[in-house]
Amino acid sequence: MTAVVAQAVVNGLLIGGIYALVSIGVTLIFGVVKIVNFAQGEFVMIGMYISYFLATLIRLDPVASLAVSMPALFVCGVLLQKFVLRRVLGLGDMPQIFLTFAISLLLMNLALLLFTADYRTVQTPYTFSALRLGPLYLSVPRVIAFALAMLLSAALEIFLRTTDLGKAMRAAAQNRDVAMLMGVNPDRVFSVAVGLALALAGAAGSLLMPFYPAYPTVGQQFTLFAFVAVVLGTLGNVRGALIAGLMMGMAESLGVQFVGADSGLLVVFAMLLLTLAVRPGGLYGGQTR
């Protein structure tokens, strides 16, 4: 019995790494630009399709295609911020919600039109390999995804803590006006924040390809999980989003094991309600970093 639970926890932790990447992106945009990105999952989807086509056309391993998907999505993020998001800053909830929601809708349906609803998968030499750790089986592609997800998160942490631009972003997240008084250029900071967030989403997509199918609406579940993880981890808190993402992964895995295969939505709701009831400020109790 404990072996079953342990296996579920481990599986959940591994996929949680991906959820963490997506959640960090959402919380980064929310913390710095104060916009909730409904379309985050769709950028994961784009990352998946980029890796899919590179794998199919030039046999590039999805993990290697990080080198393509991340920069491509970074540029997308910068363009998105400069030409679209900037126009709704400070306009209040409604335009922001519906703008990113519309972008999400557009991307999903464009993907549907361009690529059809077919599931696209990529086979790598290691897709079905697994490591053994005592009684536990660790799926190799998931381990790789988890490891790289943690690496990228760590890199982001270092960036935010040590570089000037990173500190400027944290300052803008904490208090935009004072940050501007201190000489922070909001435009640049916002663009980089959105760019990084989307790059992380693209990375998540590429890392998913070896073991997850790509299809136009695949992003929605990631958006949903990310939103709950962001609330759980405290809005705007990157470390919180990381931990919450891992927790969501484990919760989902345990739910699938003990409640049933369709329990994804239930898990999401349960986590959200639990957070709101017990600790509405999230794990870090309202501290944006």
Partner: protein, 327 residues
């Protein structure tokens, strides 16, 4: 374009204007942006259908019953979801509609599951809300729209209307001034859900078919919000304008491009329209129209109070762009 096709478009325009008006009460005036109104549409539809097929109850009664069921459902859903603000509320509402769809997909014994059911064709039986002449549906849809507009008009001019706008514009300030925010939100949600439930019954009777994917369709939730946003959120006639613009466009797009081969065209089109409207006129096109009218007819400088929807159509409290309190 055949006569029947034209009437069908009119019916769609009225129906989605009505759903939009219902949505607008919650989403426009109270600014609680729901993306899960299909939940009430579906509940209304299933209630009347179950009453009709299992108990032979007339859909007219079933329609009211469906509205009541939807309204009652809004109580626990609201209690849960109103704890969240902004985009989180929206996500939670999406979740509730999805959950209901999943539940009804599983209820094979109780409610026909994924297969759904057709409405038994009783020929022309007005008492059972079935008509041989399409024009009858036209008048019912028009009647529903008139009902929705009347309710909105009355709410706008009542104390509730002022409380609503206060809550919508700044919930914290409204609370500070003594507005019973939870009660207002709950009450307007009841009304909004009830009306949406009525629409669900009508639609099912019109197309003679129901299944969870149609009844709880995300498309319906999106359209409910879309027609209001495009037309003029928080205004009386906004959803009507939005529906007049969007429904014919969508029907024509579908008939030209076909649903099967080009799945996703309709939603992609909606998405583009939504993006354009939000970037250009976030408060909706009604404001742009009234401003243009003022400029042409009155030859007076536009802008100022006339450009936010309170122009010639005099719609009472309207929603302005949010104050940039946090920059």
């Amino acid at each position: 374009m055949s006569h029947a096709f034209a009437i069908d478009i009119f019916i769609r325009v009225f129906l989605f204007a009505f759903i939009g008006v219902a949505w607008n009460l919650l989403g426009g005036y109270a600014q609680q942006l729901s993306l899960g109104h299909a939940a009430y549409f579906g509940l209304g539809a299933y209630t009347s259908t179950l009453l009709l097929i299992r108990a032979g109850v007339s859909p007219w009664i079933g329609m009211v019953a469906g509205g009541v069921v939807a309204a009652l459902a809004s109580l626990p859903i609201g209690a849960l979801c109103f704890r969240l603000r902004g985009p989180y509320f929206a996500i939670a509402t999406i979740g509730t509609a999805q959950t209901l769809m999943l539940l009804f997909l599983k209820f094979r014994d109780f409610a026909w599951g994924a297969v759904g059911t057709t409405i038994p064709n009783l020929g022309n039986s007005p008492w059972m809300m079935q008509f041989a002449a399409k024009a009858a549906y036209y008048y019912i849809a028009l009647g529903l729209l008139a009902l929705g507009l009347a309710v909105t008009y009355w709410v706008e001019r009542s104390w509730m209307g002022y409380y609503l706008v206060a809550v919508g514009e700044d919930q914290a300030a409204a609370e500070a001034v003594g507005v019973n925010v939870p009660r207002i939100k709950r009450d307007i949600y009841l009304i909004s859900a009830f009306l949406t439930g009525l629409a669900g019954t009508f639609y099912t009777q019109y197309i003679y078919f129901i299944d969870p994917n149609t009844a709880f369709s995300f498309n319906i939730s999106v359209e409910a919000a879309l027609v209001s946003i495009v037309g003029g959120i928080g205004t009386l006639w906004g959803p009507v304008l939005g529906s007049v613009l969007l429904e014919p466009a969508s029907a024509l797009a579908q008939s030209w491009l076909g649903g099967g081969a080009h799945a996703g065209v309709q939603l992609a089109l909606y998405a583009v329209i939504l993006i354009v409207v939000i970037l250009w006129r976030p408060t909706g096109l009604l404001g742009a129209l009234t401003a243009a009218y003022d400029r042409i007819v009155r030859a007076a400088p536009a802008g100022g109070p006339a450009s936010d929807g309170t122009g010639i159509l005099g719609t009472g409290p309207t929603v302005r762009k949010g104050l940039p309190l946090d920059g």
